[in-house]
């Protein structure tokens, strides 16, 4: 049995509606990061890097990230999406993945995009935790545009929400599940270095790194245009999103806040395929929402 490397190389890319999509590994710090490049024929500035979310959202938000990447590439902007070290198909240890390494992986992806597509300017797209990473990278400079969807604006708030969701799920379990207070859970994280949040490990290092991150208070060097999308059942952006928009405005950046309605049955960041009237079928209820996020992003870029 021998690998046919030529055959594998032939299938590392394909052309989808005129856009070359190429799957590859980025080398970062001795590890391999799974990436997909979306390369239009005639690339235009800026290129975009997609920052993925955390936990189950790495899988569920991929649907949105893919649609946005293809839409941006369709409008001429080259895009790279990637899995950071310790995530998805990449190698590496998630326990060692502090905030600095998230930004380092993003920089490596952006460098690859520049090298492959010949673009100089960089935009970042991120949803939920991906928005927090994108915002953190933007603080350090070198980012021209931000598109954030329901971004987490502070580390403690994001992880606090994860823990609350975990407690709710555990309370609904048949066995009743362990009912522990937030303080107990954080003590355990401190003591043991890791917390099992519904089958996803939250590591102390990343939690501690993110404790001091609040994008609404500090967006550092970023003063570029930004699009903040609020995806929900009802309009009326949350306070932290408005505060983030205000912060960008104070730095001299133009910031648009737009609302995208969640269709019935869909919740941004949750499973896309759900049963409706037919108990045997699972349909993609998120599709209109995903398409609107993609089209609004492209329209904003063209404005």
């Amino acid at each position: 049995m021998r690998l046919d490397r030529g055959f594998l190389a032939e299938h590392a890319s394909h052309t989808n509606e005129g856009i070359l999509e190429r799957a590859l590994h980025l080398e970062v710090g001795g590890e391999r990061c799974f990436s997909v490049l979306y390369l239009p024929d005639e690339p235009r500035e800026p290129g975009f890097a997609v920052c993925h979310s955390y936990g189950l959202e790495l899988l569920t938000i991929r649907r949105t990230e893919r649609a946005v990447a293809r839409a941006l590439a369709g409008a001429g902007h080259p895009v790279i999406s990637f899995h950071g070290r310790g995530y998805g198909d990449s190698t590496g240890d998630l326990a060692a993945q502090g905030l600095d390494r998230h930004v380092e992986d993003l920089r490596a992806a952006a460098d690859r995009l520049r090298a492959e597509a010949g673009v100089q300017r960089l935009g970042l797209f991120g949803a939920r935790f991906g928005g927090l990473v994108a915002g953190t990278a933007a603080r350090e400079g070198g980012v021209d545009r931000l598109v954030l969807v329901n971004p987490a604006t502070s580390g403690p708030a994001y992880f606090g929400q994860l823990l609350r969701e975990m407690r709710l799920v555990q309370m609904s379990l048949q066995s009743g599940g362990p009912r522990r207070s937030m303080t107990d859970l954080l003590d355990q994280l401190d003591r043991e270095g890791v917390l099992d949040v519904l089958g996803y490990a939250v590591h102390r290092g990343l939690y501690r790194d993110l404790e001091g991150v609040d994008l609404t208070a500090d967006l550092g060097a970023f003063a570029g245009p930004a699009l903040l999308l609020h995806v929900a059942k009802r309009p009326g952006p949350p306070k932290d999103l408005l505060a983030l928009a205000e912060r960008i405005g104070q730095a001299g950046g133009e910031c648009e806040v737009a609302f995208v309605r969640e269709p019935p049955g869909a919740v941004f960041g949750s499973a896309a395929f759900v049963s409706t009237n037919d108990p045997m079928a699972r349909v993609d209820v998120s599709e209109p929402m995903v398409e609107e996020i993609a089209s609004r992003t492209v329209a904003w870029m063209g404005a």
Partner: protein, 290 residues
């Protein structure tokens, strides 16, 4: 043994399925593994379970492919999942690709949830499939297509709520339901005819291992399925089915790191068992001890 991985796109008609092929750096065994998920998970599975399985298998000399269905993850196309319309074409395309890229002549399908249905149907259709290992999957379908009868909708609604589940577990309610069931001519839900058909087609030449948690709601369903299928099989074919019940586990939603470790261990173990039993029957010239 070092592991190599290749991100790639598997052709399937007009669509391209994003996949990662994992293989040992050196010589490999003549047994490849196709890793399938339920519809809402991408190829990596929850908390990278399939990534861990693929790497563990490659370290032991087995190549594998983990794939996004069309319309899911990084693949192209649009998806609509229907329990009675399996995505076996996706599984077959991945299996053919793995064979073409590595030269393996024997295949194992490894799957959870909706992927289990795809795995069994694909195994029945692929001439080189020798085994399927399936973690909890949906087995029952409505007798009549269309909206569920009222009693099933009420039960479904109750099962989705903590108090409802407690109510359904009460002995008095169970007795009432059992009496009502006895008076009913036909149950509302039946074992999927397509699944039964696929099992009957595959079991004469391959093995199917079901791995269920003792606490899984669907354990009763798979037992019901096997009660219907096994009596219709020859003795030798019956020996090709195995139901492993893991004590104290659920193995359905994989919502703890501990349960995920069980799934990874059982998945890798099932491939090793398959390989050993194949080698015991007819050692492959290129085979090495796993």
């Amino acid at each position: 043994m070092s592991v190599e991985e290749f991100p790639l796109y598997v052709p399937m008609g007009e669509d391209r399925l994003c996949a990662v092929l994992a293989a040992p750096e050196g010589e490999m065994h003549d047994l490849g593994v196709v890793l399938l998920t339920g519809g809402n998970y991408t190829r990596v599975h929850r908390n990278r379970m399939w990534v861990r399985v693929a790497r563990a298998l490659a370290e032991r000399g087995f190549p594998s492919i983990r794939v996004d269905y069309h319309g899911v993850g990084d693949s192209t196309g649009r998806a609509r999942f229907d329990m009675e319309i399996p995505f076996d074409s996706d599984a077959l395309a991945a299996a053919d690709f793995l064979q073409r890229a590595t030269g393996v002549t024997r295949l194992v399908m490894l799957a959870t949830c909706f992927g289990g249905r795809n795995a069994v149907v694909a195994a029945a259709k692929h001439p080189d499939a020798v085994a399927a290992t399936v973690f909890p999957m949906p087995v029952l379908v409505p007798r009549d297509r269309g909206p569920l009868p009222l009693r099933s909708r009420v039960r479904r609604w109750l099962k989705g709520r903590t108090l409802g589940r407690k109510l359904l577990r009460r002995p008095s309610i169970r007795r009432i339901r059992t009496r009502a069931h006895a008076h009913r001519d036909q149950p509302a839900m039946i074992v999927s005819p397509k699944l039964k058909e696929a099992l009957k087609a595959f079991l004469p030449r391959g093995t199917v291992r079901f791995v269920y948690g003792e606490l899984s709601d669907s354990l009763v369903e798979i037992r019901h399925c096997l009660d219907e299928v096994l009596p219709r099989l020859a003795e030798a074919e019956r020996r090709n089915v195995r139901l492993d019940v893991v004590e104290g586990a659920d193995l359905h939603r994989f919502q703890s790191l501990e349960e995920q470790d069980i799934v990874v261990d059982r998945a890798v173990g099932s491939v090793l068992d398959t390989f050993r039993s194949l080698e015991a029957r007819a050692p492959h010239p290129a085979g090495r001890p796993a």
